[in-house]
């Protein structure tokens, strides 16, 4: 399993609208991609308009090839792209360690 972390900046004045849009995009578009395992949207306490979108994928290629080069990506970007104040920074992560309980 691979964790995609997208570091997103939006206009804080549109935060509520963006939160509804990204939830809609995740639930109705990204969730249909092959290898999609789940997502979280996190809002920064210290930096208004900063969000971390976390999506779990079966493999790196499920995101980088299957999703980003596939037909769903245009739908996704049409929903969330208009809110971006800058291009999101995206990296992928592998789990090294976690607490026994969670």
């Amino acid at each position: 399993m691979i964790l995609e972390v997208a570091d997103i900046r939006v206009d804080p004045a549109r935060a509520t609208e963006f939160e509804a849009a990204i939830r809609h995009g995740a639930e109705t578009v990204a969730s249909r991609a092959t290898g999609f395992r789940g997502y979280k949207v996190n809002r920064s306490v210290e930096s208004p308009g900063r969000y971390l979108l976390m999506i779990y994928w079966d493999t790196l290629e499920d995101h980088t090839v299957g999703f980003r080069q596939g037909p769903l990506f245009g739908e996704w970007r049409a929903i969330v792209g208009p809110f971006f104040a800058a291009p999101p920074h995206v990296e992928h992560f592998e789990l090294v360690a976690k607490s026994a309980g969670g």
Copy 2:
């Protein structure tokens, strides 16, 4: 619940040693802090030596006051601090949305 995300950079040549150290620090020190709910350590695929440490806390103050200004913080920093190539960037996040399954 609050998510702390610490963006950590270490010398990639010491990655294996750092991973053992941060797991030890999380399991034996941070986990004893009031309000600690669990942690994950994630290793970047694209940026060698970059890690995201995620710790879940009951409240923001459990981390910023209880842990960082309490007696455990010195123990924690003694274990993981020697590996830092730069001061970690730390922010806190609130969950906005997540998939039904997880």
